[in-house]
């Protein structure tokens, strides 16, 4: 399963090479051409097919290859490693996790002082990243320096697997789910030029999408995402943001984008006509590649649509396979109608 391979692959922002290689392999037989740009985006192009192909129409689909992770900043005198988060990580999820560092996948653990030794007040204290270290079992600073370099990226050592009846768990489902969906979407033909862009550096400011869109100048853009989910039971009747199992989530607005209403309506109508379950992302939170693409050059009407994903930006996340498949189905049905907007 491609999603499994992608989830297990390692690609923190700025270092997406391993993920990119998998994706090149997956798409090369289905697209007319592809290239890798300066920031490391993989840009695949499918030329318009069909008699009524409208030439000037270019549609960009973006899914980001990068994941959040850690970067090694310093070797302590005793061989422990200091690090900074790459992308938005809540430091509270880091304690007692395992990581793999650098090209050689040096294993490490983020250890914490045992509960036995904690003062009562310490137990209530949140540990920020600058108070944490990675232990690779090095004997000394020199030993550690020989194994790990400053600037090396670390990823969570999480293995993808199924969970429950319909769900899968793994790291980096945000946004490898979008990448896997995009690969499926690229296997069909469309009556316009379709650019499937696997973007770099989304988690540090949607930087890849920005320069890719500059080069492509799309007419419309869709970001395919793994998005926030807050569907745990709550006392108050308030928004769950998205629900796992409720179908692909359409963004009408987030912190980076006011989705183009025509594209939102197109997705909603397509879902209804084809009886594909869908939901809105019921919060104005977060940002995606679409928010950067929409601002490129003279502007690009854009929308984001996502697989609801629990526990994103942590070592392990969870999504429903049905939601994932419905995202693909929805996009495949909706895309041909873009030409009629």
């Amino acid at each position: 399963m491609l999603l499994e391979k992608l989830s297990n692959a390692r690609g923190v922002s700025g270092n997406e090479g391993e993920v990119r290689e998998i994706l090149i392999d997956a798409v090369k037989d289905h697209v007319d051409e592809y290239r890798v740009d300066t920031l490391g985006n993989l840009i695949a192009r499918k030329k318009a097919k069909g008699a009524r192909a409208r030439k000037p129409l270019r549609v960009m689909l973006a899914a980001h290859m990068d994941e959040i992770g850690l970067m090694i900043t310093h070797h302590d005198s005793n061989g422990y490693l200091r690090f900074d988060p790459v992308g938005g990580i809540d430091a509270r999820v880091l304690l007692s996790k395992t990581v793999l560092i650098g090209k050689d996948k040096v294993p490490g653990v983020i250890g914490v002082k045992p509960i036995h030794l904690l003062k009562a007040s310490e137990r209530q204290q949140v540990l920020e990243t600058d108070a944490l270290t990675i232990d690779i079992g090095a004997k000394s600073k020199e030993d550690a320096q020989g194994l790990v370099k400053i600037g090396d990226y670390a990823t969570f050592a999480t293995t993808f697997s199924s969970i429950g009846t319909d769900c899968v768990k793994g790291k980096a489902l945000d946004d490898r789910a979008g990448c896997a969906a995009l690969v499926e979407i690229l296997k069909r033909d469309y009556p316009f030029d379709l650019y499937g862009v696997f973007t770099a550096q989304e988690e540090v400011g949607a930087r890849g999408a920005r320069v890719a869109a500059y080069a492509i100048e799309p007419t419309y853009a869709f970001a395919l995402e793994g998005t926030v989910c807050d569907d745990s039971p709550k006392k108050k009747d308030v928004s769950p943001v998205t629900r796992v199992g409720g179908g692909p989530a359409i963004t009408f607005a987030d912190n980076s984008l006011l989705s183009d209403r025509r594209l939102v309506d197109l997705l909603v109508e397509t879902a209804r006509e084809n009886k594909i379950p869908y939901q809105f992302k019921q919060a104005v939170a977060g940002g995606t590649d679409a928010g950067r693409i929409t601002l490129v050059k003279e502007g690009v009407p854009s929308v984001a649509v996502a697989v609801p994903t629990r526990y994103i930006h942590s070592p392990v996340s969870l999504l429903s396979k049905r939601d994932f498949e419905n995202l693909i189905a929805l996009m495949i049905k909706a895309l041909p109608k873009v030409a009629k907007i």
């Binding site: 007319d32 290239r35 890798v36 900043t73 310093h74 400053i150 400011g205 920005r210």
Partner: protein, 380 residues
């Protein structure tokens, strides 16, 4: 002019973000002897072009290979942080900041108010004798400070308007071991390094065109760098900015010893090949550096330049500096000169091969896919 003299001149001159005109004239004068062309962007940044020899292979061959002269951009920013008048109250000036200040350093600083004429001023605060014990414990907020120019209100109103800018009044002082201290060494020291690089390049052979740039408005949002890079559209861009040197009460992590070389950054903001090349050249020439891991936004011009147009391979060199954004920023002249030399060596090392390497992945991928497409077509 020697690096030290030029740094002294730039440091003692005045130009907050948006008002860099005096600095610009000095930079143009210093760039001129080494440049083939000088231009000023609509925002006021200075660009000096020093032409390279072009592709080394015979011209027809180069054309056939699609080779052209590479463009490398090296830059520092010439603006400084400062203050601005927001209101005139009984002859005293209320103010806000241009760029980021630690307000704790402001009381009793001497400043220049750039009104209809330059006025000396002192940043005043109420004397401790009249404050309650509680008040003495607290940092004095900017709203409780004022600037006193020692003139009667009517005269102040004649000479000063809302929106006039204010800078530190501070002469450079020499410290031991080739260190100097003064205001706005962030980032005028980088401009000096850029000039040092041009000086060195004058005696070297280089194939790439070198664009030496002194940018405006870094302190208020990296604006000069973004727009200059758009104009130049370089193949490689190197930003020079200051970073924290080792100093009392700061961690060893992410700091560089003063006088001990420089920082070379790595991380998402930095193109891996540019990082490799910079460190390679430094090692080959026995120039000391420390690797600085930047996990995200570097907060420097490099961050803005990387995403200009279709993306620009970007590098970042950090000049170690103590006491950043104060009026006693401290720097080593040796570091400034050394960075200039590294920059020159880096620029001179750029050849046809490097352009190809930068484009490599792209071209190879495109070729591969074209071949495969043909193969697939045949199969069908």
């Amino acid at each position: 002019m020697s690096a030290k003299d030029f740094l002294k001149k730039l440091s003692e001159a005045h130009g907050v973000s948006g008002y860099e005109h005096a600095i610009r004239e000095m930079v143009i004068a210093e760039f001129k002897p080494y440049a083939d062309e000088i231009s000023v962007t609509p925002m006021g940044s200075v660009i000096a072009l020093k032409r390279g020899a072009g592709p080394s292979m015979r011209s027809t061959l180069s054309r056939a290979e699609g080779l052209r002269t590479g463009k490398v951009l090296i830059e520092g920013h010439m603006d400084e942080i400062g203050l601005m008048v927001t209101e005139i109250e009984q002859g005293f000036l209320r103010f806000t900041q241009v760029g980021g200040f630690d307000v704790r350093v402001l009381p009793s600083q001497e400043v220049i108010v750039h009104g209809k004429q330059k006025l000396r001023g002192i940043i005043g605060a109420r004397p401790p004798h009249v404050l309650t014990a509680d008040e003495r414990e607290k940092v004095i907020p900017m709203s409780d400070l004022w600037i006193d120019v020692g003139l009667p209100e009517a005269r102040v109103r004649e000479l000063v308007q809302v929106g006039d800018w204010i800078t530190y009044a501070r002469d450079v002082i020499d410290l031991k071991n080739n260190l100097v201290a003064g205001k706005s060494l962030d980032d005028r020291a980088a401009v000096v390094s850029v000039v040092e690089a041009l000086k060195s390049l004058a005696t070297m052979k280089h194939t790439w065109d070198v664009y030496a740039v002194a940018n405006v408005q870094e302190e208020v949002g990296l604006k000069g760098a973004q727009t200059s890079a758009f104009r130049i559209n370089p193949d490689v861009a190197i930003a020079l900015d200051v970073s924290h040197a080792e100093q009392p009460n700061t961690p060893e992590i992410g700091t560089v010893p003063l006088g001990g070389g420089m920082g070379i950054a790595i991380g998402p903001n930095i193109h891996p090949l540019v990082y490799e090349k910079l460190t390679e050249v430094a090692k080959a020439n026995e120039i000391a550096f420390k690797v600085l891991a930047e996990a995200g936004a570097t907060g420097t011009d490099a961050w803005a330049m990387q995403v200009v147009r279709e993306g620009i391979p970007t590098g970042l060199i950090d000049i170690p500096l103590r006491y950043m954004h104060t009026s006693v920023e401290t720097i080593s002249i040796t570091d400034v000169e050394r960075i200039g030399r590294l920059l020159a060596l880096f620029c001179a090392s750029l050849d046809d091969k490097f352009i190809k390497q930068l484009r490599g992945e792209t071209e190879e991928a495109t070729r591969k896919s074209a071949k495969e497409t043909r193969k697939n077509a045949k199969k069908k």
